[in-house]
């Protein structure tokens, strides 16, 4: 890569930062990535790993749903190595669930999500651990990913295309010349040393910490960190993702993760994503609701309890405690607010990370005068292990 | 403790001494090395002793008298214990390589140590009191 190629500094190695770094590196931009901890140690690491078919959002948030099914198919092509593509079931155990089915099927059809109706018996043939009172189910192309390795796959490819990734490197301040962001002052957490990294454009991909980074440039980003609890139980009771066939609610997803299952999630707004206190009643709720879908959960051994902070894009008039906010993403080009050289990408979910990367890279490349278009939808990623070959 | 990648040879030679109290496998490994050292030391001592035959019958008989004394007999018992353990543990390791007993590894170690103890006790009785 030429030394005079335009440069970008990406802050954050969650799925968003990793996808942005990959897209920019693929277009020939000189990319530096900084991350204050281990790769994916923010929100992305802690999600339950559900690769969304979009079924969950089809009725209430069709914009998100369409994004999901499109991106799910793309990820299945570019990174099949880090995905379990066993499908998912939306399961009805009550009459109320059953009444939801028609709306659900219509919405899936409208969003382009393949959906297959199953009887209760057929559902239990596929997944014997389901509640014996299953009335019906709908099969959709959900999948499971492993958050760390998904990020590593993007980063390994970016690295092969010249990107340099610095974990354990914390942004302490942004460098401004007038109203242009020119770089960042970072602290190497190993040695405590401060140094400057300069770049033509700085991308803020820090999820629920986005407002903290943006504030360093005097900017306000409407990110509402909203925590959700996940509970891991020992025992792989299902191979498919199991969802409740109803409007999204707490504890309505069961995701297999190796020899455990993870039940999620709930929702409560928090002020500090660095230290989240988990309300014990949320934990009990997960076992309870998860047990409605897969009864073995109720008697399984508790293996882990953890919380992730979703970076939801806030609207000033939202009163739903986060549950009703759209799960779509938004790219804030701060040049529109008078601060050049700085872009924030927030919201979204890991399933749509590649699309978030594309939207962000498009904005960044426009500023950099890079005319390459996005090829990430059709470029297979390298093995995540290549990240460690250097 | 964390170590840099290539510690020196002297350091590396002590790695079997880093205790893993709760791992029966470590006990077997450490005892195997320890008894192995005893056996090597004994073999060398044995050659030295045999070379004393060159010194003539009277000196040899004196040496044998020394070897019949109680401290040396106790040493014999310890030596036999070392031989028994080292041999039985060696058989256990061969069995593991064959794929036998890999599921209940701890049981194998306990069996070897237990059996070694019993056989050494019998040998000890025979040497000291019979």
């Amino acid at each position: 890569m030429e030394a005079t190629a335009p440069s970008a500094l990406v802050i954050g190695t969650g799925s968003t930062g990793a996808a942005v770094a990959h897209d920019l590196a693929l277009r020939g931009v000189r990319v530096t990535v900084v991350e204050r901890g281990e790769i994916a140690s923010g929100t992305t690491g802690r999600n339950h790993g559900l690769l969304h078919s979009g079924g969950r959002y089809a009725v209430k948030d069709p914009e998100s749903a369409v994004e999901c099914i499109q991106e799910r198919d793309i990820l299945a092509t570019i990174m099949p190595e880090v995905l379990e593509l066993n499908g998912g079931l939306f399961v009805a155990t009550t009459e109320d669930d059953l009444a939801y089915r028609d709306r659900f099927l219509e919405a899936c059809a409208a969003c382009g999500i393949p959906a297959r109706t199953l009887s209760g018996a057929e559902a239990r043939d596929l997944e014997p651990a389901l509640n014996e009172h299953v009335l019906a189910a709908v099969e959709v192309p959900d999948g499971v990913f492993d958050p760390l390795h998904l990020c590593l796959a993007f980063l390994a490819t970016a690295q092969a295309n010249g990107a340099v990734i610095h974990p354990y490197t914390e942004v302490r301040d942004l460098i401004l010349r007038g109203s242009t962001v020119e770089g960042a002052v970072v602290r190497d957490r190993r040695t405590g040393e401060l140094r400057r990294i300069e770049a033509d454009v700085i991308v803020n991909a820090t999820g629920p910490w986005a407002d903290r980074i943006a504030a360093m440039a005097g900017l306000d980003v409407p990110v509402v960190p909203t925590a959700g609890v996940m509970v891991a139980m020992a025992g792989r009771f299902v191979d498919r993702v199991i969802n409740r066939l109803n409007a999204p609610s707490d504890g309505d997803i069961v995701v297999p993760q190796r020899r455990s299952v993870v039940i999620g999630t709930s929702s409560w707004p928090i002020s500090d994503p660095d230290l989240v206190t988990i309300p014990p009643e949320h934990v009990a709720l997960m076992s309870e609701r998860g047990g409605d879908l897969v009864p073995s959960i109720r008697t399984a051994t508790l293996r882990g309890v953890f919380a992730a902070s979703r970076p939801l894009i806030g609207r000033p008039d939202d009163t739903s405690g986060g549950r009703e906010l759209s799960r779509t993403f938004e790219c804030f080009d701060h040049a529109a607010e008078g601060v050049a050289g700085f872009v924030t990408i927030s919201g979204g979910k890991t399933t749509t990370a590649r699309a978030m990367g594309q939207a962000t890279a498009d904005v960044v490349c426009r500023h950099l005068g890079v005319e390459e278009s996005c090829r990430t939808a059709t470029t297979p990623l390298r093995s995540y292990r290549d990240f460690y070959r250097g | 403790m964390a170590e840099s990648r290539a510690p020196g040879l002297g350091r590396r030679a002590t790695y079997w001494l880093v205790p893993r109290w709760r791992d029966p496998g470590w006990w077997a490994f450490a005892l195997n090395r320890f008894t192995g050292l005893i056996l090597v030391a004994y073999l060398l001592a044995h050659f030295v002793v045999l070379s004393m035959l060159l010194q003539g019958e009277a000196g040899w008989n004196q040496l044998l008298g020394l070897f019949g004394s109680t401290p040396f007999l106790i040493g014999d018992v310890l030596l036999i214990a070392a031989v028994i353990f080292h041999g039985l543990n060696g058989l256990r390791v061969i069995a593991l390589t064959m794929g036998l007993g890999t599921r209940r590894h701890a049981l194998g170690v306990i069996a070897v140590i237990g059996l070694s103890g019993i056989l050494a006790a019998i040998a000890g009785w025979a040497i000291l009191f019979a």
């Binding site: 281990e38 066993n86 996940m230 891991a232 020899r259 | 403790m1 590396r12 791992d23 496998g25």
Partner: protein
Amino acid sequence: MAETTITLRVWRQAHDSAQGHFETLEVTTDPARDYVLDLVERAWADRDRTLVFRHACHHASCGTCALLVDGRERLPCVTRVEEVWDGRGSLTLEPLRNATLVADLAIDPATMLGRMAQLPLPYVRTVEAAVRGASGVADADVGTAERFEDCLECLACVSACPVAGADPDYLGPAVLAAAHRAVEEPRNGSAGRILDLVDTDHGVWQCRSIWACSAVCPSNVDPAARIMNLRRRLWGRRPAEAEGVAHG
């Protein structure tokens, strides 16, 4: 047990070649509710933001948080405090052994995982799906499901292995177990090449059957048994090869 205070003895070391020392940090805990990783995070958030440690998933899927708790390899994200602390004395936290240190409790997995990268290993295995009719009769049409490999690449096994400490070139239990998986379920016909790679003095033959690796593995990999299995496969191979040489 209700909320109480626990004393953590945390290893601090600026980088791989620096001198290290133990630092004492006190945090509050509910031992029945908290996981050891929660304590580390609390110590970082409330007491000392310079503490460097690895974590990502907090549910035994990424393997990054592995460290020594009172001298034994564990995944602190799924280790409840009450499992390792009886309410008295301190809890000692140290980084894994036999790895390059980044700082404090964080190790750099690049050496071992770089070795894994040289083997053609799939991350997803194919298993028979458990398909039974609702009546309990096995269905003849058994489908297949995909599953991630059990190994989290947490390197607890490498830390536990005295041989890995003594021989920096030893491939180590993690790499050998992964190699065995690739031989067990070969894709692209690569089993022969993998057997060649592990058939070295620093490969399967360096193992001393200590079994500490299998004892500490948090994810059912059983590296020790897999290493023994690789040896048996290699024995079977050699006479056949020798014959090949004799007949030209």
